[in-house]
């Protein structure tokens, strides 16, 4: 009986610890993808400013309320705009941002190809 009790308590402890750890990891992951708007080049996770600290508490609160990662991003995007996310989603505000590198790649490739073809023709 004693062994049984011991086992149950151990399993219970492990369960508590691991679920707690999981929640903490998600919180860290989310705050790492949030830009600290009043700092320069820092994520909310890295920063210790008043703004970042409040945001960390808020993210924890929202997670406890049962919101998932995407809902929290949407919530903050609503308040602060896309700028708060390091990884903004594809929308009509951001399509230029996402497509520009591809366009540049295609354009650059076209220029190189043209030069190569011209050179071959000359030879």
């Amino acid at each position: 009986m004693n062994i049984f009790k011991f086992l149950v308590s151990v399993i219970f402890l492990i369960y508590c610890f691991s679920s707690n750890l999981k929640a903490k990891n998600l919180e860290i992951e989310i705050t790492k993808n949030l830009r600290c708007l009043i700092c320069q080049g820092q994520s909310v996770y890295d920063s210790d400013s008043e703004f970042a600290n409040s945001l960390k508490i808020l993210v924890e609160k929202k997670l406890n309320e049962g919101l998932d990662e995407k809902q929290i991003y949407d919530y903050l995007k609503n308040k602060y705009g896309d700028w708060i996310l390091y990884d903004p989603g594809f929308s009509k505000n951001t399509y230029f941002l996402w497509l520009l590198p591809i366009l540049m790649f295609v354009f650059g490739g076209a220029i190189i190809l043209r030069k190569v073809i011209l050179k071959k023709k000359k030879l």
């Binding site: 708007l37 703004f51 508490i57 808020l58 602060y80 705009g81 700028w83």
Partner: protein, 172 residues
């Protein structure tokens, strides 16, 4: 001739660079993207400053009156600068000034109000700063003009003569 052009060009270039950087120093380094101008105000639970009674935001922003929400703290120096403008606005009848006490010590905040006078019709507490996030605020001081549960104007940083005039124009 060639030797004269070079120093002139050199000085000219550097004075332009100096001018650009000097101007850049005065700019605020907070980048604020354009957000839809009229946003619905958030809903939150908080406590009243003096009585510590629980209060919901629905009980604060009622009807179609003009409300001016001011986020402040006793430790915030620009808040002292803008205080006289809030006092000025508190004399206007059709605008209610609501204070949000941001991450502050109660005694310090009370002394702040005793020393500089109290322009607020009501003050509520925001001890961990999460309500400021709900508003989409960056820090202190920040001011929101509200009507019909919509944010009409958002002011980041302290009020000044020009903004005071603008607020008065908007609430005519």
């Amino acid at each position: 001739m060639k030797t004269k052009i070079f120093p002139i060009f050199f000085i000219f270039t550097f004075s332009i660079i100096f001018f650009v950087f000097y101007k850049g120093l005065q700019n605020t380094n907070i980048y604020t993207p354009e957000i839809k101008s009229e946003i619905k105000i958030p809903n939150f639970d908080t406590k009243e400053f003096f009585s510590k009674n629980k209060i919901n935001s629905d009980q604060i922003f009622i009807g179609s009156d003009y409300y001016l929400l001011n986020i402040w703290a006793s430790w915030c120096v620009p808040c002292k600068e803008e205080h006289k403008y809030l006092m000025d606005l508190s004399e206007k009848e059709n605008i209610k000034i609501i204070g949000q006490n941001y991450k502050d010590n109660f005694d310090n905040a009370k002394n702040f109000l005793i020393n500089l006078d109290n322009p607020y019709d009501l003050i509520f507490l925001d001890n961990d700063g999460t309500i400021a996030i709900e508003w989409g605020a960056y820090g202190v001081p920040e001011t929101f003009l509200i009507r019909n549960n919509l944010i009409i104007k958002k002011i980041i940083g302290p009020l000044n003569e020009k903004l005071l005039f603008e607020i008065k124009e908007l609430t005519q």
